[in-house]
Amino acid sequence: MSGTALRLPWWADYILLPLLNLLLALLAAGLVVVATGENPLDAVVTMVNGAFGSGEGIGYTLYYATDMIYTGLAVAVAFHCGLFNIGAEGQAYIAGLGVALVCLYLDFLPFWLVLPLAIAGAALFGAGYAAIPGWLQAKRGSHIVITTIMTNFIAYAAMEYILVNVLIKPGQMSPETRYFAPNAVLPKMDAMFAAIGVDIAATPLNLAFVVALLCIALVWVLIWHTRWGYSLRVVGASPRAAVYAGIAPAGRVIQAMLLSGALAGGVALNEVMGAQGKLLINFPSGYGFTGIAVALMGRNHPLGVLIAAILFGALYQGGAELTFDMPAISPYLVVALQGLVILFTGGLATMLRPALVRALRIGAGAR
């Protein structure tokens, strides 16, 4: 077994190696900053300040992080079942329809009824849409990577059609719905704090963030502390062992995609019912793909996803801040960084491992 020759202590595999990979991604991003003619170290200072230096900065950071928690969890849950769900973007988009339908047509109900219904709408629409590639993978063997890419595009077109032709506010040019009634909008965090007499900066951060935190706990319990989650992980880690254990892989594949899609639906909650208060075109704006980077960096663990989401949220917010101070740098730098994180912590995850084994062996020998 060649694996035994390359054995590393657990902290090297789970903490040191991912951190080194992240460092490589950041270094590469630094090179990009250099290419734009700016000083990367100044950029880091500005970004950290922008993300955490003020109440407003923190609010925005967490608001961005909320979307990434949802999509990060969505990708992570699918990963645990051995599935690569590239379709979180489309699932979130379709979930927006579920949320909007509740908020537009059931707004005669009080908020405490609209809220659970909207959550159910987001989850059901997201899950339902993810069930298609899930079912095709489980029953027909269609590769989920390709089918989820395709379902993304179908979602874009379907939502565009629905927004332009059906749900558009009459007498308006841009394809978006009317504003939801106040009782069908998630309260902003500043308003909630104001109600208990605490004054915080006004940001789009809203109740969906709290729901996202609950989802983290929920996923953690489901994946690691239930029989169902256990069977899901067996299927993902070793389909043969699953058959041996009497677990039917096909069923788990579909169920994992249902949960994954439902989680992706959280983006709709945060954006449509929370930040915007209306359904508008292209609201998921790439968070489905950011989820891949977040899940890879968070090593598919809910806590890892939380940390990675906050980090990326900070990068989004800090990146936006950066453009004011350093006009040569754009928020798109953060998108490039996402790609680099996926590249180094995903595709090249084990590149540094042999070197690390050597380094640790030499270190141990010197002692």
Binding site: A35, R140, M150, N165, Y332, L343, G346
Partner: protein, 323 residues
């Protein structure tokens, strides 16, 4: 004559739309036939589009732009190869990474270098691929029917269109009739057979990803310096994925892939013309639905409801010599 007025522009548009799809489709074909899955066609094309527009706008030479596009996308191909072949990393993750990286990188560099909102400066006609006027257009153009076809469909296209259509028979010939093609086909199905025959699996696959990169570069250059007149954010607009769909539809073969690309391009051309058209009895044509047909067709084919698309057996799997 009225029908002709409809059909000629439609055919001409189909060809224009099909070109980048064909280039990217054949790019994916080489990569995937060698056993390396490539969902990063989109990113490589986008990088090519940016490089071509940037270099063409700085140097004023469209050909240097094309060269830069090929170079940049080729390097990305090698990067994908490094991840998938040398490091035996996940091929899909690598492709996704390239797509996202390039989407961000082109905008970052574009904004910093040109300070025009991420776009490259609009290219003058001299820094774009111009329209080719076929010989005797004046004369043949006079002939009713055929004339317009000659000047607007066969002619009236830019210089990249012709080699693109020649690429399909070329790819078909390379795969079917050359040593290199034979080995590419073999390595995507059974790398162990290639290895035991004394041929390097690694070199073959690197060659394939390099070809894929270069062709994506040409596709990108076409989009920004022939079809368009400069780089615009995410201007490839999912064509890389559409090419992937055509590749699945074409079952990883050159001619059927061409057919898939032409079909998707025709749908696109029709959809644009149907925008806002109200058909009697039906009402407004749902253009968005027409646009989803390629994706729905691909899913149906992958599910095996109608026919079956079976990828090369070793695609997606890094080659590990066991025993």
């Amino acid at each position: 004559m009225e029908q002709l007025d409809q059909i000629v522009p439609l055919l001409a548009a189909t060809i224009r739309v099909a070109v980048p799809l064909i280039l990217a489709g054949i790019a994916g074909l080489f990569s995937e036939r060698s056993g390396v899955v490539d969902v990063g066609l989109e990113g490589k094309m986008l990088a090519g589009a940016f490089a071509a527009a940037a270099v063409a706008s700085i140097t004023g030479s469209v050909w240097l732009g094309l060269l830069a596009a090929i170079g940049v996308a080729g390097v990305l191909g090698i990067l994908h190869g490094f991840v998938c072949i040398t490091q035996r990393g996940d091929q899909v993750v690598s492709g996704v990474a390239v797509n996202i990286l390039i989407s961000g990188l082109t905008m970052t560099l574009g904004l910093a270098w040109f300070e025009q909102g991420g776009q490259t400066p609009p290219l003058p006609a001299s820094a774009r691929f111009g329209v080719v006027v076929l010989p005797f257009s004046e004369t043949i153009g006079q002939i009713p029917g055929i004339g317009r076809f000659y000047t607007e469909v066969l002619g009236g296209q830019n210089i990249l269109v012709y080699p693109t259509f020649a690429l399909v028979p070329l790819a078909w010939w390379v795969l079917g009739s050359t040593r290199f093609g034979l080995r590419i086909r073999a390595v995507g199905e059974s790398p162990a057979a290639v290895d035991t025959a004394g041929i390097s699996v690694v070199r073959l696959r690197y060659a394939a990803v390099l070809i894929a990169g270069a062709l994506c570069g040409v596709a990108g250059a076409y989009i920004s310096t022939a079809q368009g007149a400069g780089f615009v954010r995410d201007m490839t607009g999912g064509r890389g994925f559409l090419a992937l769909a055509a590749l699945v539809l074409g079952k990883w073969r050159p001619w059927p892939t061409l057919f898939g690309c032409l079909l998707f391009a025709a749908l696109d051309a029709v959809a644009i013309r149907l925008q806002g058209v109200v058909l009697p009895g039906i009402g407004a044509v749902p253009v968005e639905f027409v646009q989803t047909i390629p994706y729905i067709m691909t899913i149906i084919l992958l599910a095996g409801f109608v026919g079956r698309a079976i990828p090369p057996k070793a695609s997606g799997l890094p080659y590990v010599k066991d025993r």
